[in-house]
Amino acid sequence: MSRLFIALSLLLTPAAASAACTVLTGGATVYLPEGPKEGVELRLADGRITEVGAKVGATEGDVECAVVDATGMTITAGLVESSSNIGVVEVGAEKATVDSTGDGDGVRAALRVIDAYNPRSTLIPIQRVEGITSAVVKPEGGRIAGQGGWANLAGATQSEAVVKPNIGVWASFGGASRAQGLLQLRELLDDARFLRRKGSAYDSGNSRELAASRLDLMALYPVLDGELPLVVGVNRASDIEALLRLAKEQGILLVLSGGAEAWMVADQLAEANTPVILDPLTFGPGGFDQMHARADNAKLLDEAGVTVVLSSFSSHNARTLKQVAGNAVREGMDHTAAIEAITRGPAQAFGLDDYGKIEAGAVANVVVWSGDPLEIGTAVEQVFISGRSIPLQSRQTELRDRYRTLPGTPVPALPVE
């Protein structure tokens, strides 16, 4: 057997899902906010990480506590996919199963895509068994697509799964012309300000015409206040410049998504403190807006001090996130920075302070790996979401097991009693 995959034989049994608390003993290598550290133990209780230290151990009275031996393992915060439609799409080409996209190219700022979140989607277990514990669920289409949310990939109800229904307002520019798209964004923000000032006049019908509906403009108030970022899909460097100018002029927060040419304006992005969500594998040039895409985009941005968030930009295959990050490292990004970019980076970009880190008090989304989390042969040994141990099963493991021996189907005849 290969050296690369030797750790696979060290399979653990999942901790009891019902345990009120879990202690991860054995002194694994743990990715802490200050970097990886060997010989660290964790205690998870009531959905949080309650203790991080050299010797946490199960204490007296801890009879309810499951103990997991993580000797030789690597532990990180659960991975976060920052650009997905998980929970709002089941089969891409079947419209009836797709709830991420509104009609037309209009303005739907008030739309909360997480209202459509299906916690029973088969995509959810398929991602989490590979270490993805949270997802940014975003709306698609239109000048303003709507509000995205943050979900934990566990829980049988929306109220259990949805952590925050609104973490940003997703927008695009382009369309008929880039300049017109930008003008439309400017007009919407301006009209939102107007409505806020002249709300009573509007209500009594004594207002000029506005660029969008009342609810849509009201949904932009948190953006005007800098409470929610405007998340804009953009690749070309000059487009990024134009957006940074807009954000400065309007006093709003931006998160950029795509960012193929972001490396060319890295200093401006760092100065504006604007995070970039990017996929280091997507350099083609896939389109005329990414002629200067480079494989070491993530590295260059990180070194310039930009908050880098790595993404698979995929829902069915959000599980490739670790491969995505591994490729950023292959192209020169610091290994620890790459892990941050799929854990703490997304949490910072979207203001979820309790996520994406191994620290006392943080939400207990924790993954135990057989080795380097970014290496392809590394296996996920344990996944905890809000402190609960997640069974490593999915629709795909069930298909695999049914066809482990052929014919698989038809299933055998039922016994005659």
Binding site: F5, L8, H316, L374, Y403
Partner: protein, 486 residues
């Protein structure tokens, strides 16, 4: 390997026909002579002069069953002249490359690429992959759509890919001919053709054709798909009979016209057969006759197990062999049948769910096919994925190990080297590091199944086409002058 034998026979016949064509310039032409005219080269495919190169010191993964932890490969005149463990014999004038700490593998081969026919950057003007005007278009050739300036080609080379099959898209039931190319810069696709590679044809089953034609006169159902394909082959059978008859008449005619061999006396007043009348050529049917004759290898886009079984019924009805199912995300469900019939499986490591026929895709697919004795292949179908085929194979390998299958690294490497070579009918020439095969070779800076590995040097027929340690001038005219000019 019955299909391969037949395919090679086809090539030989074509070659003989070519040499015979000079003698037969006068008078009616044979089908093979006419066919060869469609393949005549315009520019030379001779690419580069090569030196003798010795790669020595690192791990050699041959994809032929051997792994040499400290081995060597010698490249001479475009071929692998030696490969083995330990140190090579010194050769006067050879360039020695120290591969200590590195890994040497055969060049990667992708059975499913749309580079050049759907090139980057995406542009409507370059969307040349689907002749979506009729559901059955076997007469079109991907080669004629291929844009050799696609920047994606050099990126594929940088990922260690040395040959690939360019296919038409999957809108059509029978979408046209694919073409096997070497990954090298050239001015036209014909000169990039992999010498000696058989012709291929792309077919598709399932959702795509019925989606594209459902409101354009059909097919709009899977049963409509099958009727379309069976109908096309029925026509081809009738067409073949016409040409077979013509071939017989032509042979008799040429025999009668040729001067008798020495010592052979012809009967006086023997009747001279009439000059046979050339039947009307039909490019669509010509391609399908190539399939019926075993000269053109069918490459069938098909996801679901039951759809693949329908395609095997089609193949049985018209007595041809399916060479490779492409995408085939449910191959694991029928892996016993596919292995027994020697149908290879070109699939992804983990794509699934983007449409309903891809809903049952699992990461263990390739490994389970391999485990059943089948030929598993990891293909890209993507200008991005083709840059990292080694990682895709590694994911499929890891999934197989995790479910407890016995697999070796050599197996995983075969999924992107020797097995795709077989699917394209070029495994006698490429796909493994063996004496006498083409010197299509990659030096990796780390284990190729690691996410951190990059191709450091890539050789095609012994010529260095990519070197990560130096500046590589862009192959693509399109990319010239696009750099930032302050």
């Amino acid at each position: 390997m019955p299909v391969f034998a037949r395919a090679m026979r086809g090539c030989l016949i074509s070659l003989l026909a070519l040499s015979a064509s000079a003698a037969a310039e006068e008078g009616p032409k044979s089908a093979d002579e006419l066919f060869e005219a469609g393949l005549a080269p315009v520019e030379s495919s001779v690419l580069f002069e090569t030196q003798t190169v010795i790669l020595s010191g690192g791990t050699v993964l041959t994809a032929a069953g051997d792994v040499h932890p400290q081995g060597f490969v010698v490249l001479t005149d475009g071929k692998v002249s030696d490969v083995g463990a330990g140190a090579p014999l010194a050769i006067d004038g050879a360039v020695l490359i120290d591969t200590t700490g590195k890994f040497v593998t055969p060049g990667l081969i992708d059975t499913h690429s749309h580079l050049g026919v759907y090139p980057s950057p995406w542009a409507r003007a370059h969307s040349d992959g689907n002749e979506a005007t009729k559901p059955t278009t076997p007469g079109v050739w991907a080669e004629h759509s291929f844009w050799p300036q696609d920047p994606g080609l050099q990126r594929a080379a940088a990922g260690g890919v040395t040959s690939l099959q360019i296919l038409p898209g999957s809108a059509n039931l029978i979408g046209g001919r694919g073409v096997v190319l070497q990954v090298v810069p050239h001015r036209g696709s014909r000169a990039m053709r992999f010498p000696g590679a058989p012709e291929t044809v792309k077919m598709a089953c399932g959702e795509n054709p019925k989606r594209v034609y459902g409101e354009k006169g059909g097919p709009s159902t899977r049963m409509g798909n099958l009727r379309g394909q069976r109908g096309a082959f029925l026509d081809a059978v009738a067409y073949k009979a016409t040409w077979d008859e013509y071939a017989e008449k032509l042979e008799a005619y040429r025999e009668a016209k040729a001067p008798p061999a020495e010592g052979v006396r012809r009967k006086k007043n023997a009747p001279v057969p009439e000059e046979p009348k050339l039947p009307k050529r039909d490019l669509n049917k010509e391609t399908l006759v190539g399939v019926l004759n075993g000269d053109i290898l069918p490459q069938i886009h098909c996801y679901r197990a039951d759809d693949m079984l329908s395609m095997l019924q089609l193949a049985d009805e018209f007595d041809f062999d399916v060479r490779s199912f492409h995408h085939a995300v449910e191959a694991y469900k029928i892996r016993d049948i596919l292995a027994e019939r020697e149908v290879s499986v070109s699939t992804w490591a983990d794509w699934w769910g983007f449409k309903l026929e891809a809903y049952d895709g699992i990461q263990e697919n390739a490994a389970m096919v391999h485990d059943a004795g089948g030929r598993a292949i990891i293909h890209s179908d993507s200008s991005i994925g083709i840059q990292r085929l080694n990682q895709e194979a590694s994911k499929a390998y890891a999934a197989g190990l995790r479910m407890g299958l016995e697999l070796t690294e050599d197996d995983a490497m075969r999924w992107i080297t020797l097995n795709p070579a077989w699917a394209l009918g070029i495994d006698g020439e490429a796909g493994s590091l063996e004496k006498g095969k083409r010197a299509d070779v990659v030096i990796w800076d780390a284990h190729p199944l690691s996410v951190y590995a990059s191709a450091e040097k890539v050789f095609v027929q012994g010529a260095l086409v990519w070197d990560a340690t130096t500046d590589n001038p862009t192959w693509s005219d399109f990319q010239l002058g696009q750099e930032v000019q302050p």
